[in-house]
């Protein structure tokens, strides 16, 4: 607890131009102004580097990964250990992609299955695996493809009725005039057997959202590796975890079970950070756990005032052996702040600007002895990016 909030490094990533149009988002009300967003991000990085004196490692943006700026989801770092996550939104797709790729492969390229019987067996196996997946799939989640959608997509069959919204959203998917969905990446993948192999070796795989597990996290992983952190990877295909669902209080972890994070993922996190209690908290609405809360200091949780947020806080308090103070701010998203405790500066809090959330930013003034740094996050906020999403903070002690 004593060392809570001490950071020396920050990993950030550039904003790809595809962010504006192609980033995953929960609502599409406002258009993202890319330039503004990039400007914002620059300021953000500047604050980290110049004002706070962190060593900032900036990863290059990847156009094929519109969400790549939100690095937080890709890794959870605590102490000397870094957990490379399997971000929920993509990994689910990836899972299906693999399955379908195999299926497509089987249909088109029978070479691995020499005779008809083996081929049939293989097909049946895949089908059953697929059905199994369907059963476990939560079809209600908007941004995940339903099995039917994927079936349509993959098998190029357009069923009557309007095209599923989710498919429109995704940059990699195009709706062809003749009623077929085309997925850019997968087409190539399924065309040759060689590409299929790429799915197994994430590092080499082609840039496509269909294989984003590696994509989103690959760069992160190598960056963290360079920092000599202890890297733990999620190898379980069923596990998903977004860094945005992980709240580390200094004493323990809370993992929000959201659309992007499942129990298995949380379990792996618990395994990676054995020293700490890992409690799960259901996040029924909203994107992430940290969409409405964050740490504002040792033992201080900043929490939004929505019913959901308050309820979640109650649960967290109940689950914890420790006591936490809370600072309630009127707006949920404003509750997402970055707290640091820097050796020469003391308590530092990066929070929303008064322009965005006038009420909430006032609330932060209650924090005495804090250096308050308002950071604008307006544009990124439109694509569900909060302040904490844009960086991974690392405390790397000088080597003994």
């Amino acid at each position: 607890m004593a060392g809570f909030g001490k950071f020396t490094h920050a990993v950030v990533r550039g904003i790809p131009t595809s962010l504006a149009k192609e980033a995953l988002r929960t609502d599409q009300l406002d258009v993202v102004d890319l330039e503004k967003a990039q400007k914002e991000h620059e300021v953000y990085v500047d604050v980290l580097r110049e004002k706070l004196g962190l060593q900032v490692i900036q990863l290059p943006a990847d156009e094929s990964l519109p969400d790549c700026v939100f690095v937080e989801d890709a890794a959870v770092v605590c102490g000397d250990t870094a957990l490379i996550t399997r971000p929920g939104a993509q990994s689910r797709r990836n899972e299906f992609a693999c399955l379908f790729d195999t299926l497509g492969l089987l249909l088109r390229d029978p070479s691995p299955w020499p005779d008809r019987g083996a081929r049939l067996l293989g097909f049946l196996w895949l089908l059953s695996a697929f059905c199994g997946r369907i059963a476990t799939m939560d079809a209600s989640l908007p941004l995940r493809y339903s099995a039917t959608e994927l079936l349509r997509l993959r098998l190029r069959c357009h069923l009557p009725g309007p095209a599923p919204e989710a498919l429109h959203l995704h940059p990699d998917i195009t709706f062809q005039p003749r009623g077929k969905y085309i997925h850019r990446g997968s087409r190539r993948i399924s065309s040759t057997r060689r590409n299929f192999v790429y799915h197994q070796q994430p590092e080499q795989c082609i840039p496509s959202i269909w294989t984003p597990v590696a994509q989103l996290t690959v760069a992160m992983k190598s960056a963290l590796k360079e920092m000599d952190l202890n890297i733990v990877e999620m190898t379980d295909d069923n596990a998903t975890l977004d860094g945005g669902d992980v709240l580390f209080t200094g004493l323990e972890f809370f993992v929000g079970l959201s659309k992007r994070t499942n129990q298995k993922g949380a379990d792996i996190l618990a395994d990676a950070f054995k020293d700490y209690v890992v409690s799960t908290v259901p996040v029924l609405e909203g994107l992430h756990l940290k969409s409405f809360c964050s740490m504002g200091g040792p033992g201080l949780i900043i929490i939004g005032s929505s019913e959901l947020a308050q309820k979640t806080l109650k649960i967290m308090q109940q689950m914890s052996d420790h006591r936490y103070d809370k600072l309630t701010v009127p707006d949920d998203i404003a509750a997402n702040c970055i707290y640091m405790n820097l050796p020469d500066k003391g308590h530092v809090l990066l929070h929303c600007t008064p322009e965005e959330f006038p009420e909430s930013s006032k609330a932060f003034e209650k924090l005495k002895d804090y250096i308050l740094i308002p950071v604008s996050n307006m544009e990124k906020g439109k694509v569900d990016g909060a302040l904490t999403c844009c960086s991974v903070l690392i405390n790397k002690k000088a080597h003994v």
Partner: protein
């Protein structure tokens, strides 16, 4: 006193015996002491020596026994041949004596015989001295001396009490006195005891009053000795001899002695039951009955992991805790990360090997031999070494402290995991820890129930239930159920929960509910000291830090899979006895919790039993069976009987320590047979009050005065508080016991976590918030929940058993209820600040008229004991009659009700006094009417004052009994409001106020009762 006769003869026998046996070697005496393991008597200095001797004895045990018998007169031999070999073979004299005693007493199975046997057997330590005394003194004298002296050693007071002169007042202090007396005698008169070392004597005595004397644990001398093997934390095996019938505590003390451990309460002994499950040995029960096998293998383990090890007093305690944790870590039970493993390992090295020596031939060597982690590898060992280097200069104690500081933060520190399934059949783990009950799924914590949140813990077969206090927004309590693999595990979990709750949460352990009939369920309660007490006790430890050797080498052989390995090899040659036989005899004894009678047929016999046994004491109830399961009546009654809080005024250590067994009063009568409950139940139902919070402060003359026997049922809105003064005698207790018979089967048991006594509020500040809600148990919810709708008619129907008066009471209650209903509206108003609470009575001016009625009703109920007084509403008299004689009490009299038309406050009734008044139980009636002796009531007055939302009722009774006058002031403050009241504060204020007002008196009881508005729906 029949007993005396017995003892006389016995003593004579003894004298004879000793005469025949020439002189007793001094050494033998010491042996006696050691074997008896008397904490008081054993000299610190003599310990080592003694131990050696014991071991020797072990070896030559058999031949010794025979050899001795050769010298015995034939009539003694005959005894021996019966197989009743004296346990204490270390001392021939003892054996002879006890045999003699046995022979003499054998024909008389009367209870007093028991007492004597126990006396003799339990007192090996003193025996020889006593014998000498007796020789010297006249026999009658001697017996008189020994009689009271033994009293304190006797575990079951009921068995012996009749014979004991002073039994009526079993106060700890007296016990202590006796003990001391005895000791003085012993030390003064005999030479040997001097060897026990006076230096330690005094300190030890102080402690010994706290630590229960082990002597009382040994029950029979006639059993064979058994060699127990206790695996200690450092990996060594500690063989020790105990008698077959010895209680668990006997073994505990042996081990503690061996370890030279003072802060003992954190530790325990485990054994493996027949299903290879690890169980904690219950100190209060016979060892043999618990282990149920001939495998006398135990291991010494930490039972309660102190949340903050730095608060431990002694290094040796910390060291032992370290050993346990190292084992936990190495076995993987306490998971931790690579870095933490390395860090902990490095502290271990530092503690055990001292500073890192660079010039050591093979530095890695000693590391690899030691296991630090379940998956130890080269990398980790290097890291450990690296960190070890950085600890240079740290002494072992510091290293241990550092180790603990790091270990205590680990996520699973002190969590005792139990496999279970949730209601949907999902595999989970239930973790019991200092703070409450944790629910894990895989490695994730998915839920947590802090102790204050838990109203009741129970199990039924393999189901385990916890009743959760309703949250702010919820109306009703909810019950969460878990499925355990089998009922044994459910019971084990339940026990662990009860113990952990008691240890960490309470100030003093609850007294297990005693019951004579209708007892089917588990009476299990934690019997040791609570953390609060143990901290207090250990703060008194005044001895030079004991020397102990830190060893690591022995630990190497520890298996990696964790738990200390206990071989299933037969413990020794002692098995002459059939486990089966044991089993049978045990299974008849339903009162014993500890025994795991539970076989398959248990449930069946259970059913039979409950059906067949339940009726006799009480006429059959139509819905009894159903009620049994609904559990609500039992629960409600229990809820009413708040454990008497500790005297809040002062917390002298003796008092708190004494709590263990010295409060004869019914702390928590606990589960009560349905039948008897009926009435109380009604009383509770009575009020559907909005939300009064009541603070009752009872002030009475200092507890030392033995006369303060008063058991007053107070019926409040819906609570019945039984105030039992400390001095209530055994008779009362017996009665209480019968009241509290319980109707649960062996396969199920309940436990209601008690409210913490006021002290805990101050002691556990970090939990304050939670405790606010926790201060009172609410029964309403239960009733409302409809678990058992119990219509009023049924309840009011006077029970055949119940005396007519109780029926009256009930009716009165109902009447009161109606009245209350009327006043309800007016009462649910403003909330008041806690600060006002205690002052309420001092501010007579601000009375809310609306409250008056309510208060008066309460008043009526308060004095419900005296039907005559109550049945007739009197004109409102606010009366404060200062009694002529007695110490004056400051009483603020407020003229509150002047305007009200209700009944009143003054009682000039002969009621007040006496221990016998239990709530509504028939026996109470008898006592009340028949007994008659309670002393002369001098005055009784009730003063009521009200403010806006508080009603303060002061009830003063003065009685003259013998030459002593006793003044009891009971103050009841009812706070009505519609928002939360800070009970802690209210309580604190109340106590403070009471103390201020009556500095010469002591606060004996404070009850805070909170009711929320749940009840309204019920109406």
């Amino acid at each position: 006193m029949t007993t005396e006769v017995g003892s006389e003869t016995e003593v004579k026998e003894k004298a004879e015996e000793t005469a025949t046996q020439p002189d007793q070697p001094e050494k033998a005496t010491e042996d006696n002491q050691e074997v008896a393991n008397s904490e008081n008597a054993t000299a610190e200095g003599g310990e080592e020596e003694v131990e050696v001797v014991v071991e020797e004895e072990e070896d030559k045990k058999e031949k010794d026994g025979k050899g001795i018998s050769r010298f015995l007169p034939p009539w003694l031999k005959k005894q021996k041949s019966q197989g009743q070999v004296v346990a204490n073979e270390t001392s021939p004299t003892n054996k002879v004596i006890s045999e003699a005693t046995e022979e003499e007493e054998a024909p008389a199975p009367a209870p007093e015989t028991n007492g004597h046997i126990e006396e003799v057997e339990e007192k090996e330590e003193v025996q020889s001295e006593e014998v000498k005394q007796k020789e010297a003194e006249s026999t009658s004298n001697a017996s008189a001396d020994t009689q009271p002296a033994t009293e304190e050693k006797v575990t079951e007071s009921t068995a012996q009490s009749p014979g004991e002169a002073k039994s009526a007042t079993e106060d700890v202090k007296e016990e202590e006195q006796q003990q001391q007396q005895k000791k003085n005698e012993v030390e003064g008169k005999s030479i040997e005891p001097a060897a026990t070392g006076d230096g330690k004597g005094t300190a030890d005595e102080g402690l010994s009053s706290i630590f229960q004397s082990p002597l009382r644990l040994v029950r029979r001398n006639k059993m064979k000795l058994v060699v127990c093997h206790v695996a200690l934390l450092d990996g060594t095996d500690f063989p020790c001899e105990v008698e077959k019938r010895a209680k668990g505590q006997f073994l505990f003390f042996k081990v503690y002695e061996h370890l030279n451990l003072m802060e003992r309460d954190y530790f325990g002994l485990t054994y493996k039951d027949s299903h290879e499950q690890r169980c904690w040995l219950d100190p209060t029960k016979d060892i043999k009955r618990q282990i149920r096998s001939n495998n006398w293998q135990f291991s010494f383990n930490v039972k309660f992991y102190p949340p903050d090890p730095s608060l431990l007093t002694e290094d040796i305690t910390r060291y032992l805790l370290c050993l346990q944790l190292r084992e936990d870590v190495a076995s993987g039970r306490l998971p931790c990360s690579f870095v933490t493993h390395a860090l902990l390992g490095s502290y271990t090295l530092q503690a055990e090997h001292g500073d890192y020596e660079p010039d050591q031939p093979q530095p890695l060597d000693y590391i690899t031999k030691q296991s630090f982690a379940p998956n130890q590898n080269k990398e980790m060992e290097e890291k450990i070494l690296e960190l070890h280097k950085s600890h240079r200069g740290m002494n072992p104690a510091q290293a241990d402290t550092q180790f603990l500081e790091n270990a205590k933060k680990l996520s699973m520190y002190g969590v005792d995991l139990h496999r279970a399934k949730d209601s949907e059949g999902v595999d989970i783990m239930l973790g019991v820890c200092a703070n409450g009950l944790l629910v894990y799924k895989d490695k994730l914590r998915i839920n947590r129930f802090a102790w204050p949140k838990i109203l009741k813990i129970s199990y039924k077969r393999n189901n385990y239930y916890i009743k959760i206090r309703p949250g702010e927004s919820e109306q009703f309590e909810s019950t969460v159920g878990f499925k355990l693999p089998n009922h044994r595990s459910a019971k084990r979990l339940w026990k662990v929960c009860v113990e952990n709750h008691s240890f960490f949460r309470l100030n003093s352990p609850e007294v297990p509910p005693k019951a004579r009939f209708l007892t089917l369920g588990s009476k299990f309660r934690y019997s040791g000291r609570t953390q609060t007490q143990t901290r207090l006790a250990s703060s008194l430890i005044d001895r030079p830090a004991p020397n102990f050797e830190r060893t690591s080498s022995k630990r190497i052989s520890r298996s990696l899979d964790g738990a200390p390995v206990i071989n299933i090899t037969e413990a020794g040659s002692e098995n002459g006895h059939e486990p089966h036989l044991e089993l049978h005899s045990d299974s008849k004894d339903h009162d014993k919790t500890q025994e795991d009678v539970l076989r398959h047929q248990a449930s069946i016999s259970q059913l039979k039993r409950s059906f067949m046994e339940a009726p006799p004491p009480s006429p059959p109830q139509p819905n009894q069976w159903e009620k049994r399961f609904s559990s609500s009546p039992a629960a409600t009654l229990r809820a009413q009987h708040h454990p008497p809080e500790q005297p809040a005024a002062s917390v002298p250590t003796e008092v708190s320590a004494a709590d263990n067994n010295s409060f004869p009063d019914t702390k928590e009568p606990g589960k009560t047979a349905q039948v008897e409950i009926e009435e109380t139940h009604v009383i509770q139902e009575v009020s559907k009050e909005t939300k009064p919070a009541t603070v009752t402060v009872t002030v009475s003359p200092s507890p030392d005065a033995p006369e303060g026997v008063a058991l007053q049922p107070e019926v409040r809105e819906q609570e019945v508080v039984v105030v039992v003064e400390e001095a209530s005698d055994t008779a009362t207790r017996a009665r209480q016991e019968s009241v509290s018979s319980e109707s649960e089967s062996d396969e199920e048991a309940e436990y209601q976590p008690n409210l913490p006594s006021p002290i805990s509020h101050t002691l556990i500040p970090e939990e304050k918030e939670e405790e606010v809600e926790e201060v009172e148990r609410e029964e309403q919810g239960e009733q409302e929940k409809g678990v058992e709708p119990a219509p009023i008619t049924k309840e009011t129907a006077p029970h055949p058993i119940e005396a007519s008066q109780s029926a009256q009471d009930v009716e009165r209650e109902n009447g009161a209820e109606e009245e209350k209903g009327e006043t309800d509206d007016s009462t649910e108003d403003p909330m008041m600040t806690p600060d006002e609470v205690p002052n309420g009575h001092a501010l007579p001016e601000e009375e809310a008229p609306g409250m008056a009625a309510l208060a008066e009703e309460e008043e009526a109920k308060v004095n419900g004991e005296s039907p005559m007084a109550d049945s007739e509403p009197r004109p409102q008299v606010i009366c404060c009659s200062e009694p002529p004689v007695v110490k004056t009490e400051m009483v603020t009299i407020s003229d509150t009700f002047a305007a009200q038309k209700t009944h009143i406050t003054t009682k000039e009734v002969p009621i007040v006094h006496t221990e016998t008044k239990t709530i509504t139980y028939e026996a109470a009636q008898l006592d009340n009417n028949g007994e008659g002796d309670p002393g002369v009531l001098m005055t009784a007055q009730t003063i009521t004052s009200e403010s806006l939302c508080t009603t303060t009722t002061t009830h003063i009774t003065k009685t003259l009994k013998g030459g002593l006058s006793e003044t009891r002031i009971e103050k009841r403050i009812v706070i009505t409001g519609d928002s939360d009241i800070d009970h802690d504060q209210a309580l604190a204020q109340a106590i403070k106020e009471a103390k201020e007002q009556h500095p010469d008196m002591s606060v004996t009881r404070v009850v805070v009762h909170k009711e929320t508005e749940l009840a309204e729906e019920d109406e």
